[in-house]
Amino acid sequence: MRAVQIVLCAALGVLVLAFPGLVNAYWLSVAILAIFYAIVTASWALLVGYAGQFSFGHMAFVSLGAYTSGLLVKWFDIPIPLGMLAGVVLCAIVGSGVGFVGLRMRGPYLALFTVAFSEVLRIIFVSEVEITGGSGGLEVAPLFHTRSDAPYYYVGLVLLAGSLAAMVALVSSRWGLFFRAIRENEAAAAAAGVKVVRFRVLAFAIASSFAGLAGGFYGHFLGILTPDIGSVDQMGLVVAMAVIGGAESLPAAVIGALALEALVEALRSYGEWRLVVFGALLLLTIRFARNGLLALAWEQLARVVPVVPAPRKTA
């Protein structure tokens, strides 16, 4: 049984590594965008699914990370990795600020507060045409000057694997335990000695920094940034990815993001109707599978296929 699982994992690993050679340029770029969304969705799941801080402003941090890196590289000609690092640090700082200001808010109030923050940032990017290029977009230096996008794919994979490993380590540590305790009951967590203010702010800072990292990668991959990346529409897509996959499990959120991005592209010929389908899927998931469709599907699969281990609850 164990051997079969190892063989299956190895085969999946080979498939993932060989992917750029198996698909055309279009599907390779879809895969790179899916990896970008996977990092964003996992970090949103960390903030919402584990720490219980419902934010609708996560894509604002993606845009902040992307614009920070793009502008620093353009103006000061600094190396791109340094620009991306600056975006990560700035997102952590601004995320701490948003987390601190939002400390007294819960549930829908916190969500509305983060929507407002997100819109303020988006409008600044739209309005400051001289600096950001406004709605016309900002040209961003590419990470690689190659004909193929394969290097982006592998860098994206490394970023995703590194981010996921860091997030899994975090949620498995005592910090993760405190995040979940705060999610479950703040008063009880405080009575148990958990420094609620510190950990709520930390959750925002950490999740925002991963969003900033993903944003930097996105900008330097696409080569152009528009303020729409931080729009509520984009946020809705990330929420759908996390909820359909399973917001209380990092791997489930990642798979939800990869699957939904692939579906969005596969059903592109159906135009706006595909979004109606995703909306309905989201509603059904919330109603019938609150831990996400993936957990439900995996549970069913484990019943009928003996080599599939039963899902382990991570949150």
């Binding site: 005592r174 405190f178 008063a187 009880a188 405080a190 009575a191 000695g193």
Partner: protein, 239 residues
């Protein structure tokens, strides 16, 4: 006289125009087992909330082991050795019983996971919950949840433990079990302040009673003294 663990001077709390607690002077020494009683709305839970950092008093002073604690967060009170349970049980429902215990265990400065896990299992054994350590807390019965909340507070190794209505909504069998557990813990040297309406249960348990009515302390003494206090009788039965 043993060490003074908690002490208040002229402690007051106001919610809008309502004075919930008025100029309360209160002290608990190490090793005491104190009952805090009073009719509904007398300010007992508000007092506990102030003494554990969940409410900041509008006036007055709180000293914990000789250190001014006024205005500190609830987590700081916990770190100073003030544990509590809640009137309505507050657990981390979707986390396992063991995880519920580990949260305070790992929140203690300098704690290690192995040591916290050992302590958690020891307390769960004492409370009769050892077999349930992998169950989500929300799946426990109401009585088991009360015990788990007590266990979680014990994980802080508290110098003083406030139990807010531990007998509310529990059957007589479990009530007796809780009384025995508290007596055992007290015999080990733990200090308790117990808030409850169940005067009969408290009489069996505590050595000293503090009675509150309309936000004020109206009596403080031995159980026998308090039972015959005219102001207490008036507050409780309108005599």
């Amino acid at each position: 006289m043993s060490a003074l663990l908690i002490e208040t001077h002229a402690l007051s709390m106001r919610f809008g125009g309502i004075l919930a607690v008025s100029e309360l002077d209160f002290a608990v020494h190490a090793g005491e087992l104190v009952g805090l009683i009073g009719p509904n709305g007398s300010g007992k839970t508000t007092t506990i909330n102030m003494l554990t950092g969940h409410l900041v008093p509008v006036q007055g002073e709180i000293m914990v082991r000789g250190v001014r604690a006024h205005g500190q967060a609830a987590s700081a009170y916990a770190t100073m050795g003030v544990g509590r349970t809640f009137q309505i049980t507050q657990l981390f429902g979707r986390m396992t019983v063991l995880e519920n215990m580990l949260v305070p265990g790992l929140a203690r400065p300098g704690s290690k996971k192995a040591g916290a896990t050992r302590a958690a299992r020891r307390h769960l054994e004492f409370l009769g919950l050892a077999a349930l350590e992998n169950l989500p807390a929300k799946n426990l019965s109401g009585g088991q949840q009360k015990l788990l909340e007590l266990g979680r507070a014990l994980m802080l190794e508290p110098a003083i433990l406030f139990l807010d209505e531990p007998f509310a909504g529990v059957n007589p069998f479990l009530r007796d079990e809780i009384i025995v557990l508290v007596q055992k813990l007290h015999a080990e040297g733990r200090t308790f302040v117990i808030v409850d309406h169940d005067i009969e249960a408290l009489q069996r348990l505590v050595h000293r009673m503090v009675v509150m009515a309309r936000g004020r302390k109206i009596a403080d003494g031995t159980v026998e003294d308090v039972r015959h206090d005219q102001e207490v009788l008036r507050a409780y039965a309108g005599f």
